[in-house]
């Protein structure tokens, strides 16, 4: 459905994307993960035709993005990170406006608006001005406005940022439903649990380059680390923390009084860690051993938390 080949983009002297290539199959739920400034938004902006690449090509549903931008646009729906709605208009009028831009016939559009409003649980409030909506309700309308022309591909840029659990669950339900109906979805998020729950395949991008891609299982199996030893201390003085850091070897970090140690051999590393903690003069309160997850893979690959 989407072919991205050797995409390069610079802003002045800053290289935002460096030879990025990936493909997304029809009906696939594709996650694009990366820390802030990694190049996710630039990639989405190029794929949604509003930023021109310096080099490389993108085809969407068989149409070249540069040569046939209008055809590409008709096949995509974009849910931007920011809530882009007209606050002084009602939800219905907002949807009527955004839907009309894609040439959906009026009668058909009105039917789709009613169905979509119902899907997002906002039919009863359709005539209220958007400015009276909560953040979560606005997010739902923001997503609804990208669906009215029934796109083949849906780009969702952090669609659940800053919303209440009820709205988040409703959005999850809709997203899963769309996926089941065969829509191709490209999803960026800071929430690992969302990526793990929905994505068929994930690409991890950092410093403008794709550093890993595949299904969650493929990413886990290719990772050097298998488990994470998490040590919580009763009290961790700054001096003890510094001493512990000098004593330990391997892939670890100490934040907020907790030591996280990535390992491929828990049995041998666990005893070493306890010994070093004792040498550093720290008192261990709790030890937890976690299976490797997307968060640890991400941390291992980028050296950063996803929310950094």
């Amino acid at each position: 459905m989407i072919q991205v080949q050797h995409l390069t983009k610079s802003y002045g002297s800053v290289l935002a994307l460096n030879d990025v290539s990936f493909h997304i199959r029809q009906g696939e739920f594709f996650g694009l993960l990366g820390p802030n400034g990694a190049g996710k938004t630039t990639t989405i902006s190029i794929m949604s035709t509003i930023v021109a690449p310096d080099k490389g090509s993108v085809t969407i549903a068989g149409h070249d993005l540069v040569k046939e931008p209008t055809l590409c646009k008709r096949n995509i729906g974009v849910v931007p990170q920011e809530i882009a709605l007209y606050n002084e208009l009602s939800a219905y009028d907002n949807l009527l406006f955004w839907g009309s831009l894609y040439g959906v016939p009026s009668a058909e559009l009105k039917k789709r608006i009613d169905t979509t409003l119902d899907l997002f649980g906002l039919f009863d409030r359709r005539n209220d001005k958007v400015k009276t909506y909560s953040g979560g309700m606005k997010r739902r309308i923001n997503i609804a406005s990208a669906l009215l022309h029934q796109p083949k591909v849906l780009f969702m840029d952090e669609p659940t940022v800053g919303i209440d659990p009820q709205s988040r669950n409703l959005i999850f339900e809709v997203v899963e439903k769309l996926h089941k109906q065969g829509m191709t979805i490209v999803y960026t998020t800071h929430y690992m649990e969302e990526a793990e729950r929905f994505c068929d395949r994930i690409a991890i991008i950092d410093k403008g380059q794709i550093i890993a891609q595949g299904s969650l299982e493929e990413l886990k199996s290719s990772s050097k680390i298998k488990e994470c030893i998490s040590v919580t201390f009763r009290e961790l003085q700054q001096e003890s923390s510094r001493k512990l850091a000098t004593l330990l070897e391997g892939d670890f970090n100490i934040t907020d009084g907790t030591l996280s140690y990535n390992t491929s051999n828990v049995r041998s590393d666990l005893s070493k860690i306890i010994l070093k903690c004792s040498e550093a003069g720290t008192e261990v309160a709790h030890i937890d051993i976690k299976k490797v997850n997307l968060e640890t893979i991400f941390l291992n690959l980028t050296g950063k938390q996803l929310r950094d």
């Binding site: 802003y11 902006s45 035709t49 646009k73 008709r74 974009v78 809530i83 007209y86 894609y102």
Partner: protein
Amino acid sequence: MFKIAFKDLKLFFADKRGVLLTFLLPISLITLFSLAFGGSGSSDESRPQTLVVTDEDGTDFSQSVIAKLDSLKEIEVRLTTLDTAQRWVKKGNENAVLIFHKGFKESVEAGTEGAIELQYDAAKAMEIGILQSALIGNLMSIIGPGSMKTKIVSRFDAQYPDMDSTTRANIHQQITENLSGSAQTGGSDGQGSMITTTALVREKENSPGLVQAVAGTAIMMLLFSVTGLGASMLDEKQEGTLKKLLYSPLHPNSILFGKMISTNIISMMQMIVMFLFSGIVFGLDIGHNIPSLLLMVFATAFACSGFGVLLAAFAKSRSQVQGVSTLIILSMSAFGGSMIPVFLMPAWMQQVAVVSVNYWGIQGFYDIYWRMLAFTDPVFLSKVGVLLGMGLVLNLVALRMFKKNVLDIS
């Protein structure tokens, strides 16, 4: 309390553009109004008034009178044919034409009246008043004594036919001396009868002051309203709706065109409401030429909205929109005639006025409600053409800048 004040001052001076506008704007306006009302300060710099003259008489005498008029420092003669002069006055380019009719020389020698005529535009009453007072005094100095002398001497001779020649010569001498003395002091009874006056463009029911006030204010306020367009484009950009519009299959230029259309419609509605209000409350006869009114409203709205669209395409921040628009609108309104009639301004400012939308708009509404020109009159249509041309140029420039400034959302 002082900490807050200090913080606010620090913030104020950190905004260099704001600081500049805070001081630059009032200085600019003071300069404009000072120049408009009082020139540059030195009272001896009074500029000569242009006087359009037509010499139908074509005698040595009429030419010498015209040459004497031209030599006066307060009058600058512009000689042309009668047709051309009348066209200039009708178009509003000139205020009046002084005509030396055929037989002027004979009438002066015979002491009869009516050979000089001042045809004028009654809309320019104030200017005509100033011109007439300058003209009559000077004409009296140039031709008055000779004309009066002939008249008085001939009446005297007719009344006393039997007087001896020495006494008659003494009395004639006395009359000549008295008349030249009175001419030098600038006037005598009956001077006005030397020139007949005719309104070439007649005074109508609509007062020129009312037309000036309505049209001038309407255009200035319209310019302020269209700056909302600039702000609305920035709102679209800041709130993400512009980006979302760009995701759609719409051509990017369509976004600007859409704004142009909505602004034009709102502008026309605003102008129509303002004219309706003036008709109802102040009695402006708006019904007298509806097609011309609608055409002029359209042309003015198009030119003004072009300004708004340009602002939308140019501005990168709300402070830029507010600052730049206030400066430009107040300047255009000041020298374009929205605040004070153009004819009261110095000559150079009158020349600058033609670059403003306000000037052409106000003159166009004068054509409709004061000069009562027809819809098809070339004079009226030329003003419509200028406004449409201005709007077109502004929109085209805006289109170029829109891509560079607004669509750059990366």
